[in-house]
């Protein structure tokens, strides 16, 4: 494995790990508001205090609102607060099961820390980014699983049995591929209810993306199956009287592995972006549950876009995630796809 691919895999594990254990890594709950501190800029971790003394344990100066202003803050240098690891904080369910109140990093209440600033309700942007990753990163993953599952099914049936079935399925795929991707995605979304609860929204989005995206993987997998079914050992297995299902599962589908992985690594970031796009336009996950898309939604107001750069954090977080997936896709394409 190349260095780039290794780094990419590590980065993805880190991102997904943080999303899975969101309650632990996020200093606060995603809905916890601090109305006194809307749009507070990121708190800086400091090692040297105002008297020039060096501290081993980092500390922060909490934000104090300037009098008679909106969202203007100054560092409260008189009350430094030490940053602690495994700090006690709000209650959460680890993996949805274990009740727990330790957070990876934070400050003792009532002081608050906002390493990525706060949004318009004073909610901690870092916490929302981590919780939002849970929706956005997994929406991409599950949607890709749906699209690839459908694609695998259609592609293998179409390629293996050929004939009329193949003709009909591939014409259908052509119709799906003839509509530009985002137009198709929006069209499929258009015909579903607009206002839905966040948990429904996740499955709805995943379904919409999967249905809009099955055609490309289906065509690619069909191609591999077409080539594989003419191989001598497949013909031999058929000669020995193996069933269609056995041949498909044992001899043909393993050949699609390389294409499958490459497609997965390309589709997941595309589908993460699809979720972000839909939620950004208010067609996806709704407040107060954060997704990277609806967090960016507040940027539709120009004053937010112009003044508070940290509100762009979810969009910036997409860069390393996309980069990592593309690196993995490159690796899978070069090393796995041509094995057979």
């Amino acid at each position: 494995m190349s260095k780039t691919a290794k780094a990419a895999m590590l980065l993805l594990c880190l991102a997904y790990g943080m999303a899975i254990f969101a309650g632990f890594f996020a200093p606060y709950d995603y809905a916890e508001q601090d109305r006194e501190h809307p749009f507070a800029p990121p708190t800086r971790l400091r090692f040297v205090d105002s008297t020039g003394k060096l501290h081993v344990v980092p500390f922060v100066y909490p934000w104090r609102s300037k009098e008679n202003t909106f969202a203007e803050y100054e560092a409260d240098v008189l009350h430094p607060v030490a940053v602690t690891f495994l700090v006690k904080g709000g209650e959460y369910k680890l993996l949805g099961l274990l009740s727990c109140n330790r957070h990876f990093l934070g400050v003792a209440a009532p002081a608050r820390i906002a390493l990525l600033g706060t949004d318009g309700y004073g909610r901690d942007q870092l916490s929302r980014l981590i919780w939002g990753g849970r929706i956005s990163l997994f929406a991409g993953l599950v949607a890709a699983a749906v699209a690839l599952g459908l694609g695998m099914l259609v592609g293998s049936v179409s390629g293996y049995f050929g004939g009329v079935v193949d003709g009909v399925l591939m014409r259908l795929a052509e119709v799906f591929l003839a509509v530009p991707w985002l137009y198709l995605l929006f069209a499929v979304r258009a015909f579903l209810p607009l206002r839905i609860s966040p948990s429904e929204a996740f499955f709805l989005l995943v379904g919409v993306i999967g249905v809009a995206g099955w055609a490309r993987p289906a065509r690619l997998i069909r191609g591999v199956v077409l080539a594989a079914k003419e191989k001598n050992y497949v013909l031999a297995a058929r000669g020995f009287g193996a069933s269609h299902l056995h041949i498909l599962l044992r001899h043909i589908l393993p050949q699609t592995w390389g294409v499958f992985l490459t497609q997965a690594a390309l589709l997941i970031p595309q589908y993460i972006l699809a979720e972000v796009t839909l939620s950004y336009f208010g067609l996806g996950v709704a407040e107060p549950v954060p997704s990277w898309g609806n967090m960016l939604g507040s940027l539709q107001q120009y004053h937010v876009l112009a003044s508070y750069w940290w509100m762009l954090a979810p969009a910036l977080a997409l860069i390393p995630v996309c980069w990592a997936y593309y690196a993995v896709a490159n690796f899978a394409h070069e090393r796995l796809e041509f094995l057979h």
Partner: protein, 322 residues
Amino acid sequence: MTYFARRAVHSALVLLGVSVLTFILFELAPGEFFSDMRLNPQLSPQTVSALRAHYGLDRPLPTRYARWMRSVANGDWGYSFAYNQPVLPLIWPRAKNTLALTTTALALTWLIAIPLGTFAAIRRNRFADKTAVAASSVLVAIPDLLLALGLLILALRTGVFPVGGMISLNHSELSFAAKIKDLLQHFTLPVLALVMATLPIFFRHVRASMIEVLALPSIRAARAHGISRNRILIRYALPAAANPLITLLGLSIATLLSDSLLIEVVMSWPGLGTMLLESIVARDLYVVIGAVMQSTLFLLMGNLVADVLLYLNDPRLRGSTV
């Protein structure tokens, strides 16, 4: 010419398929434009059902589809509930704006990608090439949404470029030259966003196919004949490298239209994408269908153009498949 006739018929069938697909989705939709009206106490249920009957929404799917097909033949493309007028006159000006945006961006992308890709291919694995490749892999990973938002921030902060829209409010009062200048100013940022979104992919393909072509024996022979490098590049290498690039051109139209949808909405460009989103939110479903059909039409037309270009560029195609 039979090849192109076949392709045209195929495209028409695909378009028909898309229309059937959108209608089936339409049928599956739980809500519609008039569902919200039922909640309005000032409207009697009779009025709402009369309205539905007026627009033919109470008919079964095949009847509605047949009606819609007839209105397509009339040049209406269905009826917009929200605007209370036929769909095509509504969509066409928007579609023209999208076309203007995407074709400008496409032309500009090619104008940058071809020299840049060729240059990188000549300097393969040297500093300039490595920098360009690294920059393109970073640019690929930047989501279009961030590109568009970043450029908007630029517009908001500097005030040099207008923030969204296609013309200024006082556009109609301006002199001709000022009108052109105004349009160009509004064009700059959306076009720039689109170019930045599509350039890295084009650049990589130009570079890859140039590297392949420059290694051909014919190019080596041309060099051995003492033909100048520029002449080799333009007269021999570029036409030989063009085939995969023209295929890419056809394929890239889909990406271009998708990118354009996002950038249009973010930068409030009055195009097809903005229209689509507005009609989705208003549940104006015939406009949704119209916008989807229009985008598909653009895509199919782009593919046909790419086919024609391929035919013109590659003499081998003329003898056999056509």
